[in-house]
Symmetry: C2
Subunit: 282 residues, 2 copies
């Protein structure tokens, strides 16, 4: 049996995907009763547990899919009631701080495998959950001091959601997502804010916003509380990524100031080449 | 008859849209013969002209849809051959410099109405053209010293493409698109460049790129030569927009450095509120 704690976008989608795949009994828990009822209604769980304790006692694997800041406390609470040999995993978007907080405080016999599905949506909560959310996505796993068998079990679970498991170093993971996810979020917010400011001076700005602006700012529609969690947990790596971005932007601005369109075009070509290379990877 | 010079994404889509709408005879010209042949094949034109001169002599309205930097020269060449009472318009993404270059040098009897369809794609060229490209989009028109009748004719043409004409001040337009379009492009390039740099240090970055990064950098897949045109023509307004963005980013970075997540969250909330307000406007 797999127990999922936190039935939002991620937890709900994991439940839907596992039940669509078959072969797993899925029990969920959410601190809100309406969400527990909703999860049964949409078929994200076979059953729900009224408490973390009830869920933890029965589970072979417990996945904590709460907001990242609540994962250590929730995971360690569950671990107190988990059976020997049971596995604790999570879906938090930052891995090293969670690993540090959880791995050292686990009861004997409970294994921890950190996890991070690289899929999401600017929508959040159970109503946004979908069985196909993870299809083809990478699902990073950190296997600090965990045994091979536990890792195999979590990998099988991840594959059943449609995702591709990838074992990574927690610190490298956090540096990578600072660039791949957290920096784009911060830039989307800063762009929306600068456009909002200009709109107050020239209302026409708002009228002329088109698809390019909409795409570039899509991430800034995400729930700010969830974003604050990863900004806080990944603060150091994110600050470094912002500084690196500022340097790239400063260089483009200097080219523009110097009327050096040849240099600017060559930067734009390099960016396009990198992005096209990503598409080819599929 | 409407003559379209430059049968790329915009010119090709205008031809397709007008022919789908009916009521206009569309003749196109492109400096490349293969594009002229292609435009007939996909039905973007009723006919093609081998030269700007041939096209201009017959047209009631000439629309120049070349890259922006070629518009003044091409438009003024066409104007030399246009009939008295004929109208010159264009689809350039920056309006004040084009208006300054064109309006003062027009032969007597030819009217100029500047135009800018707020629709596009990261793809370019005739193969990307589509009859629905402009459906529901704003098409900005600048009517410097033009007569009412000429403006009415261009507005009718714009409506026939499916777009909504909007008469704007050329200077305000350019300030607005610096924020709405050109700044997002520059940020997308700078983000792609900083991620590319980090990938060289940590290859995992590339593996963990997901949908958020793809959306935020979509604009950086555009043709750099076309982008350089508007960066050059709109340099002053774009530099101001970059400086304003840098200030917004610096403020978020300062909050993160100061571990002031409350301030950061309130900025993220303001950005989200602005974006949600845009969705409600439709």
């Amino acid at each position: 049996m797999i127990g999922i704690i936190g039935l939002g976008l991620i937890g709900g989608s994991v439940g839907l995907a596992l039940r669509a795949h078959g072969g797993w009994r899925v029990v969920g828990h959410d601190r809100l009763e309406e969400v527990r009822v909703g999860a049964i209604e949409i078929g994200a769980c076979d059953d729900v547990a009224a408490s973390v304790e009830d869920l933890a006692r029965e589970s072979d694997i417990v996945m904590v899919a709460t907001p990242s800041s609540l994962i250590p406390e929730t995971g360690l609470l569950a671990a107190r009631f988990m059976r020997r040999g049971a596995i604790l995993t999570d879906a938090g978007s930052v891995k090293l701080p969670l690993q540090d907080l959880i791995a050292g405080a686990l009861p004997v016999g409970v294994k921890y495998i950190g996890g991070h599905p690289m899929a999401g949506s600017e929508r959040s909560g159970l109503p946004a959950a979908s069985p196909g959310l993870f299809r083809g996505a990478v699902w990073a796993l950190t296997a600090f001091a965990a045994d091979r068998e536990a890792l195999d079990e979590v990998q099988a679970l991840v594959r059943a959601t449609g995702a591709n498991p990838l074992v990574v170093d927690a610190g490298e993971h956090d540096a990578a997502v600072a660039y791949a996810s957290h920096l784009p979020y911060v830039l989307a917010v800063a762009l929306a804010l600068s456009v909002e400011r200009k709109t107050r001076e020239i209302p026409l700005v708002r009228t002329l916003l088109a698809g390019g602006f909409r795409d570039t700012t899509r991430l800034a529609r995400s729930d700010p509380r969830i974003a604050m969690d990863y900004c806080a947990l990944n603060r150091g790596a994110l600050l470094e990524a912002i500084a690196e971005f500022e340097e790239c932007l400063r260089s483009m601005k200097a080219d523009l100031e110097a009327v050096d369109y040849r240099a600017l075009e060559s930067e734009a070509e390099r960016a396009r080449g990198y992005l096209e290379g990503l598409s080819r990877k599929g």
